[in-house]
Structures are given as structure tokens and as C-alpha cells.
């Protein structure tokens, strides 16, 4: 068979003859305007030189990160940094294709960077084996754009609020486009955020509701599912018996202990379905992950990064900014504009209304904050304009505010009052909520009397 795809070197649409090179295919696009391009965009040596000088940050060197590094390198990006604190595990090998069995235990960022640099000559990749929170504003300031392939919502929220904070209206360079990808099984999404200008990840938080947590009383008294028995073993039995000094989710002995405990409990309640694999899944909160979905989402992110950096075609951002992907029933994508929210705690300026049942104690209210799609705060410290309701730290303040935990919300705050919430894992940002009572506040004494009355009937 002859070479079918060829670029005719003699006739290069006005550019003139040029020898075949490594970047022939890329240059077909980078050196000529298309019908959908911005008419002001330029395509030539100058624009390519500018593109070559861009520095890109990749956050995460896992399933998405490996793909992103490969894609960016083959999109012609020359200077890439990658940050990841994780080490390689054997269960990564079914999709994280820059790692081999012999790499298990080594740092992801370093192995991934080395592999791609070795394969694609001319690209420089600098690994950072640390948490994103370890880096300061100056570090983030050096990049043209940031591509994110993370599995943690917390890390996403941190980088999002950091990049929104970084924007200085006087300095256009301070606005760093954030391109974020995420997958779960056959589904995923990719989105482009232009911090302060378009809907940010926090504006979109309720699109990614956390899995509902099982109430403690269900675990303790009325388990019905194998998962309930596992959670019981995980939360209650482990705390009580401490079979090992510290629970290590990756230690088979520990998972085996939990499985045994869960099995015994399941037997007591006639519940079937507890297995080692399920126990591991529940305890580690394992999300199914495959190479194909990662490939789709990572490539979509990198395609947007390439378009933003080269203006070779319009990118997602100002108009449509969100692509939803679903691959379990045929293939379905939905690309739309997610609107920026005025009451976004990170990029908005209005307090967000939060319905609250005044009959909950502060403790119960705090527990609901973790589960609420629009809040998802796990370790919140809460204050009103006048007083501190509860502080996780420092210890002295925690001790002082601890007794409030038992008090009902209706007693602590007024209907319509504004509260401020901070969560150490999410950086400097303070979440402003305006509380709106969803039910009538029932005084406790009355409830007890009425209930007694009911029973007497």
C-alpha cells in the first residue's frame, strides 16, 4: 500500500515549500486560518513562537493526568509542569499507561514526566511530588493555563478558589484559564473556567452531588444493606476494637478484618452480599475507572487547551463552557453554557440562601453541610456576624464553642440571619449563607408532651 496521507510539499497554500517535519500535521492547522477562526487571529512563525513560550500546569498524574501529559506533548506544548503527591499502585495499571508494574511505589509525577519526555523529544516536563496546597501564588502565577485531572472534589475547589483569588483586574496575565476533567465509569465531564469571568467550579458544585451518607442510627440499629454492615465495621467496630494501630485502606489484613466483622454483622441481621471486594469498594470509596473514558475526557480538555493557546478555532469558555459525556447507553454529549452564579461563595458577591430545619441541633446541621450538594463542607467552622457558633480549631476556641453543638439551630440563629463558614481544606474562602427556616421551630418541651399524648391514645 502506498502512503495515502500526504502533505503536498510543493503546494502549501501560499506558505511556500517546506520540508516534511515532525509537526507537519499540527502545522497544517497552526499555519492556516479556517472558516470558523476568529478573523483577527494570526497564524505564522510569530504566533507559533508565542505558543512555544507558554507554560502549562497539569494537576494530577493519574488516569486523566497520564493522558493529559501525552496529549499536551503531542499538541506541541513545550514547557509543562505536573503536580501529584501520589505513588503508583497496582490498581492504576489498567489505565495509567505511563506506569509499569516495576514502577509500583514510585511517585506518579516523576515517572510520568520522565516517560513522556523520553518518548516525545523537545518537551520539558517538570514534576512536583507534593500537594497543590503546598505551592504559593507565585508558583501558580507563572502558568498560561492549567489543566486539571483530579479525583478529589476538595483539591478542585482549592485550586478553583485560588485561581479566582489570583485575578488582578489591573493585570490581564493574572487570569489563568482552568480546564477541568473528571470521570466516573462510562461518564465524565470537561469544562473551561475563565476565573471571575465565567461560571467557576464552585458555581457548578451542585452538578456533582456527593453520595448520600447513611445515617449513623441506621448503621447502629437497623442495617439493611451489605454496605450498612461494612460501614458499621468501618466506623463503629474499628473504633471500638482498634485491631491495628491505624487503619490502612491498602493493607489487605485490615480490609480482611473489616470484611469479617461486616460478615458477622450481616449474618446477625440476615443480610447477604458482603464480600472482600465490596468492603474494599465501600471503605476506599472506589469509583470505577477505565482507560476509554479517561481518553475521551482528557483529550477533550487538551483540545480546549490547544484551541485557547493557538486560536486555531473557537474554544469553550465565554459561551458554552461545559461538556457532559455519557457512554453507557450509546454515546451522548451535552455541551452547554453553565451560568455564573451571583451567590457563588467563591466568585459571586451575594450570600447564598440555605434552607435549614431549625429543629436540628448545630451538630446535626454541620453533618448536613457535608451532604448538601451546594455546600459539601466536611470540617466547617461557623460564625454569625455577632458570635462564633462552632470552630474546629484552635483547640481553645473549639472547647469554648463545643457546647453549642447540642443546641437547636432555632435557638442559635434567627430566621434570615447570615452566617459565614470556613473550611480549612478549601483555603481562604469564606462561604456566606443566608439561613431560611424550612420548618416551624418547635420548642422541645412541647414536642415531648405531644408525643406522650399520641402514645396514650
Amino acid at each position: 500500500m502506498s502512503q495515502l496521507v500526504m502533505v503536498e510539499n510543493i503546494n502549501l497554500g501560499g506558505v511556500g515549500g517546506r520540508p516534511k517535519s515532525r509537526w507537519t500535521y499540527l502545522d497544517n492547522i497552526r499555519r492556516s486560518a479556517g472558516p470558523f477562526c476568529d478573523p483577527d487571529a494570526e497564524f505564522g512563525d510569530e504566533s507559533i513562537a508565542m505558543f512555544d513560550s507558554f507554560k502549562v500546569l497539569v494537576i494530577g498524574a493519574g488516569g486523566l493526568g497520564c493522558e493529559i501529559l501525552k496529549n499536551l506533548a503531542l499538541s506541541g506544548f513545550k514547557n509543562i509542569h505536573v503536580i501529584d503527591m501520589d505513588t503508583i499502585d497496582v490498581s492504576n495499571l489498567n489505565r495509567q499507561f505511563l506506569f509499569r508494574a516495576s514502577d509500583v511505589g514510585k511517585g506518579k509525577a516523576e515517572v510520568a514526566a520522565k516517560f513522556v519526555m523520553n518518548r516525545v523529544q523537545g518537551v520539558k516536563i517538570t514534576p512536583h511530588n507534593c500537594k497543590i496546597q503546598d505551592k504559593d501564588d507565585d508558583f501558580y502565577m507563572q502558568f498560561t493555563l492549567i489543566v486539571c485531572g483530579l479525583d478529589s472534589i476538595e483539591a478542585r475547589r482549592w485550586i478553583n478558589s485560588t485561581l479566582v483569588d489570583l485575578v488582578d483586574p489591573e493585570n490581564p496575565e493574572s487570569l489563568k484559564p482552568l480546564i477541568d476533567g473528571g470521570t466516573e465509569g462510562f461518564k465524565g465531564q470537561s469544562r473551561v473556567v475563565l476565573p471571575t469571568m465565567t461560571s467557576c467550579l464552585e458555581c457548578q458544585l451542585d452538578m456533582h452531588a456527593p453520595r448520600a451518607a447513611v445515617p449513623l442510627c441506621t448503621l447502629a440499629t437497623i442495617p439493611r444493606q451489605p454496605e450498612h454492615c461494612i460501614e458499621w465495621a468501618h466506623i463503629i467496630a474499628w473504633e471500638k476494637e482498634h485491631p491495628f494501630p491505624k487503619l490502612d485502606n491498602d493493607d489487605p489484613e485490615h480490609i480482611k478484618w473489616l470484611t469479617e466483622k461486616a460478615l458477622a454483622r450481616a449474618k446477625e441481621f440476615n443480610i447477604s452480599g458482603v464480600t472482600y471486594s465490596l468492603t474494599q469498594g465501600v471503605v476506599k470509596n472506589i469509583i470505577p475507572a477505565i482507560a476509554s473514558t479517561n481518553a475521551v475526557i482528557a483529550a477533550s480538555c487538551c483540545n480546549e487547551a490547544f484551541k485557547i493557546a493557538t486560536s486555531t478555532n473557537p474554544a469553550l469558555g465565554m459561551e458554552e463552557n461545559y461538556m457532559m459525556y455519557s457512554g453507557n447507553d450509546s454515546i451522548y454529549t451535552y455541551t452547554f453554557k453553565h451560568e455564573k452564579k451571583d451567590d457563588c461563595p467563591v466568585c459571586g458577591n451575594v450570600a447564598r440562601t440555605l434552607p435549614v430545619d431549625p429543629n436540628l441541633t448545630l451538630q446535626e446541621f454541620i453533618e448536613t453541610l457535608a451532604a448538601r450538594p451546594e455546600a459539601q463542607l466536611k470540617k466547617p467552622s461557623i460564625r454569625t456576624e455577632e458570635k462564633s457558633l462552632y470552630f474546629q480549631s484552635p483547640a481553645s476556641l473549639e472547647l469554648k464553642t463545643r457546647r453549642n453543638l447540642k443546641l437547636k439551630m432555632g435557638k442559635l440563629v434567627e430566621n434570615g440571619e447570615e452566617i459565614g463558614i470556613t473550611d480549612p481544606s478549601l483555603g481562604q474562602v469564606s462561604f456566606r449563607f443566608k439561613l431560611k427556616f424550612s420548618k416551624v421551630f418547635v420548642k422541645v418541651a412541647m414536642v415531648e408532651e405531644k408525643t406522650k399524648g399520641e402514645e396514650a391514645k
Binding site: 499507561f97 470484611t259 481518553a295 480546549e304 429543629n359 408525643t451
Partner: protein
């Protein structure tokens, strides 16, 4: 999730094997039977062109562990391959592209075998298709020489092998699945929210008896008991009352809203929580669960289909026939038998589960008996019938190309009309022009825009005067047949996902052509 359990043969307490550890994240999606199907497969890639999209597809098949792959490619690695294909290195320059790609792909997973073709210059493609080894599925990267494509098609037709052809150029791509004959799927993995089938309007004696025993003196129950009646029992109770009062079950939307109010009114409000969770659950479930179960259009299609003589001998159609008979007799599909989690005492919930499970078992047994009475039915595994019954409401039949598919010209007319209305309807523009433009370069990659337009005009007269078609064609011509790695990686991701669905016979494959627009970042499916 609870359905996906490691092999039945491994004792529950035993930790995972090395292979289970490596494949843990995917076994949670397609379980050990899906994995086995992958491991038994042999995928051939006929690679041509700038050559990246097929390799990216294979990458996503090698990683999850297909049995074997073969790359057929007559090209020699050239400088520009290094700028678009990740599975080629500097050392490969001047060598066979098939060989270099095969080696670098195989490195990803030592469990997978790899082969390449041609090993000698004199080998012709005909030799490849004469080998004794059978291919499970063939991937064909476009553009391709017409002669080679013909060989591939003949092979696929002769051995009924699925063919996936892929074309990626610049910011655009499409891929197309050619299945031979009909492709039925039992294990479609519907969303867990869709599978709730409680039969509240047709409770069988065991269920209504149990519900009645729990709600007999509902007014007198203490707070704990009252707050722990499972919501499905609550609904059965109030439905019975409603029927006694109205003579029939609530059927219209307004009826159901009124019924919902009745349920709400039954909750005790003076509790420490200011309400009862089980009643909240019942109220929330009214609209979804208080309706007669109807056949989905997908199941109707299966029931209405008349299988050929050959098809009739397959397990699938034998079981379908038995299920059809069951449906004709009872007016309902076999009960799947699962009960969603709900607030309840452990023992009560387990009892409910048992009631549903034994009804499901009873239904499956009846169907198995019918199956056994049919020709060829004796060889069918009872477990297969069980699985079928669990999924009966979600079975799906994908038709091979041909049959009900539309010709290109009529799809084009339909799509152009939709585009004329797009602004008023606020719908995105059709991606069909992308398919037309790429398909016009199936054999020659670097055509000029006027050449592409001329080819389109031959298939769809009048198309070349449409502004959108002209623009799309210009965009295709801009790429000069070269791939952008991102677009090929994305397309390879989607194609490999579909190949996995076809090989594992799980989830629902795309039917049959998927077009991707990398400018708007969207896809559209056409049945061509």
C-alpha cells in the same frame, strides 16, 4: 453495586488475586464474565493514513486486557509520525510502523499478545485474511485503499465479524460500527434508579398480606413502629384505602397528586424531627412507582421482531419466546426481584426482600419450564434464564447496518431542514456535513475543498451550495488529511468503549455512526 462480586469460586474472605487487583476498577463495571470475553478476543487494526486514531483505540483495549491484537500497516515510520503518534519513538524511524506500534503498545500490558503484518515486503493483505486465526473484531482506519477495504468487508461479511471504521482529520472525526445481523443485549446495565419495579398496583397475595399485617392498626402504632413502616408498605396501605373509596387506583396526574396529599396527611408531624422520614420517602416515590408497568419501546421491538430460522436456535430468542408467552399470560414481565433501600427495621426489610425474591424466583422458574419445553431449550443454563428475567425490562436489540437504516440523501435532507429551523428551535447545528465531508475523503485524504465538494454533490445533489457544508469542507481541507492527536485520542476513546461493549455484550452500543466536532466539542449519532 452489590451485584458485582468477585468470582463465585473465590471464597468471600479471600483477598483479590493479582489480576483482580490490576483490573479492580474495571471489574466493577463489567465483572468477571465481561473480562473473560475481552481476554478471549483478538482485535485486528488495519492501519493507514497518519495512523494515530487506530493506535489510540488499541491502547484503550490493551490496557483493560484484550487477549490479542494484530496491527496491519504497510507504512514505514516517518518523521511526521513522531508528532502525532505516541506509540512510536525515534528509534523506530525507518522501521515498519506496524511493528514499532505493536511493540510499544504491548509494553502496556504483559498479559496481552501482539502481532504485526506484513513481516515480508512480499506479503499482501490477502495473506492476512487467509491465516487460520480468527479475528473477533476489525478496526479499520480511514482513509484506506478501496481494494483493502473490500478485502476487510468480505472477511467481515463471511465470518460475521463486527467492523469499526474510524476517520479522524483536523478537528473532526467519525466512526462507524458495522454489525452483521442483529445484536441482542441482555446485560444493558440500566441506571439503578430506572430499575425499581415494585408492582404496587398488582400486588400478589404474599405481598399484600404482609403489608396488611404491618398496617392493620396503623393509628395505634407507637412512634418508633409508625416511623419505620417501609414506604412501599405505606403506599400499598394508602392505595388500598384509595381503591376502596374511589373504586380504582389513582391513574391521572391529578389523581396521583391527590393521592400524594393523602399519604402526606398520614404522617405524624409532632415528632422531634418535625415529620417522619418513611412518609417523606413514600411521598417522593408516588409519581414514580404508582403506575402500571408498561413495556418499553426497546422491549416491544424485541417482542415484535420475527427472528430468522438461524436466530431462532440461539439462547436469546428461545428465552425471548418464553418471556413473550409469560407476558401474554400474566400481562407482566417476570419480576426482577430487587427492593431499593428504604427506612425500615432490619428484619422487616429482609422479609420484604424475601417476598420479592421468591416471586422473582417463581416467575423465573415458570419461564425456565417453558424454555425447557422448546426445541434446543434443554441446553440453556438456568442461570442464563435468571439473568434474562432480572433484565427483562431492559433488553435491547441493535440491528445491523441495512434494514431500517436510511440512505445518506434522505438523512442529509432531514438534517439540512433541521438546520434551517435551528435558530428558532435553539438547537445546535447538525454534524452531518462533517460526515459528508470526511466520507468524501475515505480513499484520498488530502483533497482540496472543491474536490470534496464535488464528491459530496454526487451523493447529495444541492449540498455543495449550502454555506455550512462549504465551511465544514474548508475546515476538512485545512487539515490536509493530517490528524490532531487530541481529536484522535478522543475518538479512539469512544471507539474503544464501543468495542468493549460489543465484545462483552454489556451496556448498549452506539448505533451506528458517531460524528465528533472538535470545534463545538459535541457529538451526534446517525443511523446510516
Amino acid at each position: 453495586m452489590t451485584e458485582i462480586i468477585a468470582d463465585q469460586t473465590t471464597p468471600i474472605l479471600q483477598g483479590p488475586t493479582d489480576k483482580e487487583k490490576k483490573y479492580d476498577r474495571q471489574l466493577r463495571l463489567w465483572a468477571s464474565n465481561g473480562q473473560r470475553a475481552l481476554e478471549d478476543s483478538h482485535v485486528l487494526l488495519v492501519n493507514t493514513g497518519s495512523g494515530s486514531v487506530g493506535i489510540e483505540t488499541l491502547k484503550n483495549l490493551v490496557l483493560p486486557g484484550i487477549g490479542k491484537f494484530t496491527i496491519a500497516d504497510t507504512n514505514i515510520v516517518a518523521e511526521e509520525d513522531l508528532g502525532v503518534n505516541f506509540f512510536i519513538d525515534e528509534e523506530g524511524l525507518g522501521k515498519s510502523r506496524a511493528e514499532v506500534c505493536m511493540k510499544l503498545l504491548q509494553e502496556l500490558n504483559p498479559d496481552v499478545k501482539g502481532d504485526w503484518f506484513p513481516k515480508q515486503k512480499t506479503d499482501s493483505m490477502t495473506n492476512l485474511f487467509q491465516s487460520e486465526e480468527m479475528f473477533t473484531l476489525i478496526i479499520c482506519a480511514l482513509p484506506i485503499e478501496a481494494e483493502t477495504l473490500k478485502l476487510v468487508k468480505v472477511y467481515c461479511h463471511k465470518f460475521q465479524v463486527p467492523l469499526v471504521s474510524i476517520h479522524s482529520a483536523g478537528f473532526y472525526s467519525y466512526f462507524r460500527i458495522h454489525l452483521h445481523g442483529n445484536f441482542p443485549i441482555v446485560d444493558t446495565h440500566p441506571d439503578s434508579t430506572a430499575t425499581t419495579d415494585l408492582r404496587l398496583l398488582t400486588p400478589w397475595p404474599e405481598l399484600s398480606g404482609f403489608a396488611a399485617s404491618l398496617t392493620e392498626s396503623i393509628e395505634n402504632l407507637d412512634a418508633h413502629q409508625h416511623g419505620h413502616i417501609p414506604y412501599l408498605v405505606l403506599l400499598l396501605h394508602y392505595l388500598k384505602e384509595w381503591k376502596q373509596c374511589h373504586g380504582e387506583y389513582p391513574s391521572t396526574y391529578n389523581d396521583k397528586k391527590a393521592f400524594r396529599d393523602t399519604v402526606t396527611a398520614g404522617a405524624r408531624t409532632v415528632t422531634p424531627e418535625g415529620g417522619e422520614e418513611n412518609f417523606d420517602e413514600a411521598v417522593a416515590a408516588v409519581l414514580k412507582t404508582v403506575s402500571p408497568t408498561t413495556l418499553s419501546s426497546a422491549v416491544k421491538e424485541v417482542f415484535d421482531y420475527e427472528p430468522t430460522e438461524v436466530e431462532l436456535k440461539s439462547d436469546f430468542w428461545i428465552i425471548v419466546d418464553a418471556v413473550k408467552k409469560f407476558y401474554a399470560k400474566h400481562g407482566e414481565l417476570p419480576l426482577p426481584g430487587s427492593v431499593p433501600d428504604m427506612k425500615a427495621q432490619s428484619s422487616v426489610y429482609v422479609e420484604l426482600q424475601t417476598i420479592y425474591k421468591s416471586k422473582a424466583k417463581q416467575d423465573a422458574t415458570e419461564i425456565l419450564e417453558t424454555v425447557r419445553g422448546q426445541e434446543g431449550g434443554n441446553n440453556i443454563d438456568a442461570a442464563e434464564v435468571d439473568t434474562f428475567c432480572k433484565n427483562a425490562a431492559f433488553i435491547k436489540l441493535i440491528h445491523g447496518a441495512g434494514g431500517s437504516s436510511k440512505c445518506i440523501r434522505s438523512i442529509a435532507e432531514e438534517q439540512f431542514q433541521a438546520d434551517r429551523d435551528a435558530e428558532v428551535m435553539m438547537t445546535p447545528l447538525s454534524l452531518f456535513p462533517i460526515y459528508l465531508a470526511l466520507a468524501s475523503t475515505s480513499y484520498v485524504a488530502s483533497a482540496t475543498s472543491s474536490e470534496i465538494l464535488a464528491t459530496i454533490e454526487e451523493t447529495v445533489p444541492g449540498a455543495s451550495s449550502q454555506e455550512r457544508v462549504v465551511q465544514v469542507v474548508e475546515e476538512v481541507a485545512r487539515a490536509r488529511g493530517g490528524e490532531l492527536h487530541n481529536i484522535s485520542a478522543l475518538t479512539g476513546g469512544m471507539a474503544s468503549q464501543e468495542i468493549i461493549k460489543i465484545i462483552t455484550k454489556q451496556y448498549i452500543p452506539m448505533d451506528n455512526t458517531c460524528v465528533f466536532d472538535g470545534i463545538k466539542s459535541s457529538t451526534q449519532i446517525f443511523r446510516i
